[in-house]
Symmetry: C2
Subunit: 300 residues, 2 copies
């Protein structure tokens, strides 16, 4: 079994796997890297999770996720900021435990408009406030916060950060190694400014992570589960991947799929299919794709 | 029964009504204006539809819809252009038959990415090509084409025009009275640039039509039917309506609701509920809301 050397399996793709199962399946499928979620890490505890990650020999590419800090000041907001502080510590610990080349990236999903409110502009301003509070903590921990713009269909209930431009504007007051942005094809592919904003993100040194995921209509009844293997849908991975690579981005690339059918399939099969889809749809557009392992026949 | 003097009932809100039923229900509910769809007009024929519209005494605010011209050159594309040419003629005829103050606006929904393609950029460029072909025809007919940016969740299968900025960029080569844009709160409310682009649309004289419609999570299984009465969801009608009014926009405002529950309700009830929701959620933010009809009690 093999997988592209820059491919990282985001654990959400095999959502029902425990941490140990995820590490085992990922390594067995020939991956060199994995992106983790907080819940499976918490199940075994951070110290144990770090030890198991170290044992796996995998690089750590990101922790999902912090954020959800759009509520007004009060106890709920304080609890959210505290939780993000813990997520920053977890990210630093896991990145240190991962194999060399690990990246201490904490993915931030902003959160939606507070229940019963229509104040989208206010909710967005509170994202900026939260970043100002968390950035010094992240900097001290050597962690890069990665603001993830989510598709605009999630704006009311999940993420008021909807475009790469908006994420970059939010990141602008901070050093790029402290606050970067997530470029997830599923969330940004529709944007007429996607390529320009990827180039800008590159110029500003802010691409914390690139994620490859496809979009296909019609959407499922639960639009959270609308993510598909690269190549199965309408996303143009050529233009997006080339744009990211043109910035000099050289980190691992995650595939993170929320999809009921994929979640119902055996973990090993999903890991293999993910590697195959990445190889076919994304790898050809990488800046320095490794030469295929064609056996040389001497004398021919 | 009464409705705000600037409120227009888009016929899709009472989708299962015939043209005659729609005209009767709209007039009986005290509206002064209606937006029509091509199919119910075609059922009775354009001449008969125009006569009935004239009899109703209602203003005509727009015809839905033209567009769906993202396919490459060939017979399908020619058929689409021909169909749009007919839609332009229908718009001119209906606008002439409507009461004074009618607007000859043809709403354009661009169409999605052709089946099996991932060439979003190419599909978008073909929208520009189609506009170049249709604009002279519209101009000769005295019709304003109104490019409608649709919510990005419809980009792959319905409309590759996803933002107001993109619609305005597409409209830029043409005179504003020939090519304008649709501002539908449901489609644009999430956009961090919505207010700025509304202001720009105003400066450029391109707001062909303003439509008020709400957004609520979770989305229904069929995301086409996710539209709600103004005030029932997360849209901030205050900021959006004020931004539109600040441009000097003084045309009628349509409410167009695709929603299975609304479609299942009696037409008259829907017309009344639409007028009430508009009065509560939109009317207070209009530039020159008429004074409420409060009876004056002399001597008090």
């Amino acid at each position: 079994m093999s997988a592209h050397p820059r491919l990282s399996l985001n654990q959400a793709t095999i959502k029902h796997a425990s941490l140990q199962e995820a590490l085992d399946v990922t390594a067995a499928a020939g991956y060199q890297a994995i992106g983790l979620w907080r819940e499976p890490v918490a199940e075994v505890g951070l110290a144990e999770a770090s030890a198991r990650l170290a044992d796996s020999g995998l690089r750590f590419t990101s922790l999902c996720r912090g954020g959800f800090f759009t509520m007004p000041e009060g106890p709920d907001r304080r609890a959210s900021i505290d939780d993000n502080r813990r997520a920053i510590e977890e990210t630093a610990t896991l990145a240190a435990a991962g194999a060399p080349g690990s990246t201490a990236v904490l993915v931030l999903v902003a959160g939606g408009i507070p229940e019963g409110s229509t104040d989208l502009i206010g909710a967005r301003s509170r994202v900026a406030d939260a970043l100002a509070e968390l950035a010094p903590i992240a900097e001290a921990a050597g962690v890069q916060l990665s603001i993830e713009p989510l598709h605009p269909m999630y704006v009311s209930d999940r993420a008021v950060v909807s475009t790469l431009k908006q994420a970059l504007d939010l990141a602008a007051p901070f050093a790029p190694e402290v606050v970067g942005v997530e470029v997830d094809t599923f969330h940004v592919w529709w944007d007429p400014e996607a390529l320009d904003q990827i180039a800008r993100a590159g110029r500003e040194g802010r691409i914390a992570s690139y994620q490859a995921c496809d979009w296909k209509a019609p959407l499922p009844a639960d639009v959270l589960l609308a993510r598909h293997y690269p190549g199965d849908g309408a996303v143009d991975f050529a233009s997006l991947t080339r744009a990211v690579e043109a910035t000099g981005y050289d980190r691992d690339i995650e595939v993170e799929l929320f999809n009921a059918d994929i979640w119902a399939a055996p973990f090993a099969e999903v890991a293999e299919r993910t590697a195959e889809s990445f190889e076919a749809a994304v790898a050809p557009h990488l800046a320095a794709a490794p030469a295929p392992a064609v056996p040389v026949s001497p004398g021919v």
